[in-house]
């Protein structure tokens, strides 16, 4: 049981801000799931840090009162002792993990406790089974998506088997699929009888797990609601409290479609494609984005949204053409006309005051800059250093800098990920008010409330391709809601494929692979045999040059030798070609079978949507043209190279 009695804490020490919590009296029973909610800066994170011991051992300040977990005094005991009782999962997936590989990270907590190897092995197996982490074992953490990293973080804490779990905004950078996955993990933890303390903005996915909702305002607990009470709360009350929606079906939508009639195209993308290594990560035929629109880009992590945004800005090399306002532009030109506000806000702040940051390299007057800052609620922070602001304030500073930069196209990557309702609404209103100044706003987001509040169009992406593009009218709003309510697929991110083109082709030949090497060898012997005649002729020429006379008798062995070599060359060449055709044929068979299997797994609609002729062409003509390539090109190349 967790008891907080008369708790008073304010961040102090050298770098303190003076914020904190006051007069907290809270009791959390065993096995209960409590959700702490409230506006940004209300003290939710501070409470979680008080429970897991980071305050006062890591974050300094003045602490009055005590935190007790059964008999264990958290504030007075060592952090390593508290960590055996309390497991913590934090907000940022990127900075929580200590190891480079997933398996090492999963056992990190157990190693810290000092458990013997067999016990660690048992716990690892149990964690992998309970939390369904099998596809993520033995992988490089840097290659995982954000949601998968959070799953590993939860698994790492689960393996250490604490009684209490404390989670600080775990869903903050996650997409729909990942949120479903951690929801299942939390359900499992609760079913095991553990206590969960979760501090969250996005409360809609916790409605069926939470027992109590505790509302904090400015460091004081001002409300306590049961799950039913929360569910029954109307949207106006939620808005007043500054809380986000509790049910996706109820999110109100702003219909913007009438403002977008007859809009010219601002951005025209034709045949844009990007490859990383040897796999294609972006493949777009055609998109037309209208002028003065606010386009939301939606899709799972890893589907290519960030790649599309970076390709549009000209940051990464890509094939295809992008036209802005009718003129095709190169990468450098696009960089000059676009501006992207990135997800990691720390990387974009260059100056020592907010005012300076907004006016850096921008052709904007002081008054306009001040007006933008006021609209975003940053007027009081003009002279503060950007790095001393809170996360949400930093994000707003970056957005202010974007709006003052005077560029035509602004792209936002997850601008509202940690913002509460007020922050999100403010951002939406600001976008709307600047619609006339900016030709196009492009927002990558996982936030359904933002999309329904201020976007004019929605672009769906999946695996590098555009799957839908529609305006935000009533039908569009319903489509967005359905998307967020639908079940996600079960795929995990793929291990990066490091095989080259040749490697992939060789993989398709399957059993006949030795034949490929055999034919290459035969070709090389044949090529060697074809060189020898030149050497023989050379010897003849040298003999003439050195003064000897050329008669038929002396030249005969050389001529015979040349003939033999030519015959050998022809024979080996034919043998090699025959073997390579065998291998190519086998490869074709394998490719056809694989294609057939893949086709059977496609949803019926997409198959019927294609014409019969298209499928037939794919199977017969396209594949046969590969055979020519396989059989002849590769082996000719190998023989010429060896020459």
């Amino acid at each position: 049981m967790i008891t907080l009695k008369g708790l008073d804490f304010h961040y102090g020490g050298e770098n303190g801000t003076g914020d904190g919590v006051d007069g907290i009296d809270l009791t959390i029973a065993d096995g209960e799931c409590v959700v702490l909610c409230g506006r940004s800066g209300c003290g939710k994170t501070t409470l979680t840090r008080l429970i897991n011991g980071l305050i006062p051992h890591f974050y300094e300040g003045e602490l009055i009162g005590e935190v007790l977990i059964d008999d264990h005094n958290v504030s007075k005991s060592e952090l390593s002792e508290t960590s055996k009782l309390v497991g913590s999962v934090f907000q940022n997936p990127k900075s929580q993990f200590f190891n480079i590989d997933t398996s090492g990270e999963l056992v990190f907590g157990c190693e810290n406790i000092g458990l013997p190897r067999d016990e660690i092995g048992k716990r690892l197996d149990r964690t992998v089974k309970d939390l369904k982490l099998a596809p993520l074992l033995n992988r490089n953490i840097f290659e995982l998506s954000g949601g998968e990293k959070q799953q590993i973080a939860c698994g790492s804490v689960y393996a250490a088997d604490p009684q209490i779990y404390v989670l600080d905004e775990p869903s903050s950078n996650l997409d729909k699929k990942a949120i479903n996955r951690i929801h299942d993990i939390f359900a499992k933890m609760k079913a095991n009888g553990n206590t969960l303390v979760i501090s969250e903005h996005r409360i809609h996915y916790l409605m069926d797990i939470a027992d109590r909702f505790i509302y904090l305002d400015d460091g004081i607990i001002t409300g306590e609601y049961t799950a039913d009470e929360m569910r029954a709360m109307p949207d106006e009350t939620l808005a007043e409290l500054g809380l986000r929606c509790t049910d996706i079906r109820n999110i109100p939508a702003n219909d913007q479609s009438d403002t977008m009639q007859n809009a010219a195209a601002a951005l025209d993308v034709i045949d844009l494609s990007c490859s990383r290594g040897n796999s294609r990560i972006l493949d777009i035929d055609r998109i037309l984005l209208p002028e003065n629109s606010i386009v939301a880009v939606v899709g799972d992590n890893g589907c290519g949204k960030s790649t599309l945004a970076e390709a549009l800005c000209g940051l990464i090399p890509s094939d295809g053409s992008v036209a802005l306002g009718g003129t095709f532009l190169s990468n450098k030109q696009r960089q000059q006309q676009c501006y992207m506000v990135m997800q990691d806000v720390n990387r974009q702040l260059f100056s020592d005051s907010v005012m300076e940051e907004v006016m850096l390299n921008a052709a904007v007057s002081q008054e306009d800059a001040e007006k933008t800052l006021e609209e975003l609620g940053l007027g009081d922070f003009k002279d503060r250093h950007p790095a001393s602001l809170s996360g949400g304030q930093k994000q707003r500073t970056a957005i202010a800098a974007a709006l003052c930069a005077g560029k035509d196209i602004i792209l936002y990557d997850e601008p509202t990920s940690g913002l509460d309702r007020t922050g999100m609404q403010r951002f939406g209103e600001l976008l709307n008010s600047t619609r006339s100044k900016v030709k196009l706003s492009f927002i990558i987001t996982h936030d359904p409330e933002l999309i329904l509040h201020c976007c004019t169009h929605v672009l769906h992406m999946d695996r590098g391709r555009v799957t839908a593009f529609y305006p935000m009218n009533e039908e569009g709003a319903q489509r967005v809601r359905n998307y967020y309510l639908s079940k996600s697929s079960d795929t995990t991110s793929k291990v990066r494929d490091k095989k080259s083109q040749i490697g992939k082709i060789l993989e398709h030949t399957g059993k006949e692979r030795p034949k490929v090497f055999l034919s290459a060898l035969l070709m090389m012997i044949g090529a060697a045999a074809s060189i020898v005649p030149y050497g023989l002729v050379g010897s003849l020429v040298r003999k003439i040059l050195s003064g000897g006379r050329l008669t038929l008798d002396t030249a005969l062995p050389v001529i015979v030798g040349m003939l033999i070599c030519e015959i050998l060359y022809a024979v080996f060449y034919m043998l090699g070609l025959r073997v390579s055709h065998h291998a190519a044929f086998a490869a074709l068979e394998n490719i056809r079978c694989k294609l057939q299997e893949k086709l059977e797994q496609q949803p019926l609609g997409s198959v019927m949507a294609r014409s019969k002729g298209e499928l037939k062409k794919l199977f017969s003509d396209d594949i046969e043209s590969i055979e020519m390539l396989l059989a002849h090109m590769i082996f000719l190349h190998s023989s010429s190279l060896s020459l």
């Binding site: 952090l79 907590g109 000092g114 720390n346 990387r347």
Partner: protein, 249 residues
């Protein structure tokens, strides 16, 4: 920068203990500073290539041995008939000599970095009873290097939109300003990540005063001992002959 995985031993034919690889490295140090006998040096280099092959990086081993072969071949040719302008010959032979000198060290470093996983390293350090106080910074350094690479890429992209260019001409004209623009976001970003990392590690029980166990195991087996003895003997032999030849000359 794209250092995704430091080293892996999935395709190793023989799994050597990281401590054996350290011994190889130290003996290579001794060899390279005392390599007066050209043939012995070449034999040692070939043995290192074989070791790399055994440890799993087969293509790399073949490539390095081809490189070694070419270098020795060219040097032998030049010894026999040094035709051509003296300047070019001197420069090429200079480069070749440095290459052959560094070859043992380079190969042993490749063996260490490309075929060992970080967890095996840390486990070996703990088995060697190196205190946790030294192991933690090294582990953090390995884990943080890819993060610095990612942050650097992000900062570069952010700079592109602000009109701050990174071309050499711009760097020469405003060196201090460019350095400031590069360092400030990079440092703030990395400091934020390192604070969160420290908080997360501490909240999960890491403490330099307590002993940690390790799930990864490293065993010294028979072939490890044999290899270590062979390499130590080679190192001593080279060192001794080096002293003799160096002293005599």
């Amino acid at each position: 920068m794209d250092i995704s995985v430091y080293g892996e031993d999935r395709s190793a034919l023989v799994r050597f203990d990281p401590r054996t690889k350290f011994v190889i490295f130290i003996s290579s140090l001794a060899v390279s500073s005392n390599s007066f006998n050209a043939t012995a040096h070449e034999i040692y280099c070939v043995v290192l290539c074989v070791m790399l092959f055994l440890c799993g990086k087969k293509w790399n081993a073949v490539k390095m041995s081809l490189l070694l072969g070419t270098a020795v071949y060219v040097r032998t040719c030049m010894e026999m008939q040094a035709t051509g302008s003296t300047v070019v010959v001197t420069i090429i032979s200079f480069i070749l000599t440095i290459f052959l000198y560094c070859f043992p060290i380079l190969m042993s470093l490749l063996i260490i970095t490309q075929t060992t996983r970080i967890n095996q390293f840390l486990s070996a350090f703990q088995a060697m009873h190196i205190p946790t106080r030294i192991v933690i910074p090294i582990a953090v350094m390995f884990r943080f290097i890819p993060t610095v690479g990612e942050e650097w890429t992000g900062v570069r992209k952010a700079m592109a939109f602000r009109g701050m260019s990174l071309e050499p001409s711009a760097i020469i004209r405003h060196p201090v300003k460019t350095v400031e623009y590069i360092l400030i976001p990079l440092l703030f970003s990395c400091i934020s990540i390192m604070e969160e990392l420290a908080a997360a590690a501490l909240a999960r029980g890491m403490d330099s005063d307590n002993a940690r166990t390790s799930y990864e195991t490293v065993h010294l087996r028979a072939y490890d001992y044999i290899t270590m003895i062979l390499f130590i003997a080679a190192g001593i032999w080279f060192f001794a002959t080096g002293m003799v030849t160096g002293g005599a000359a």
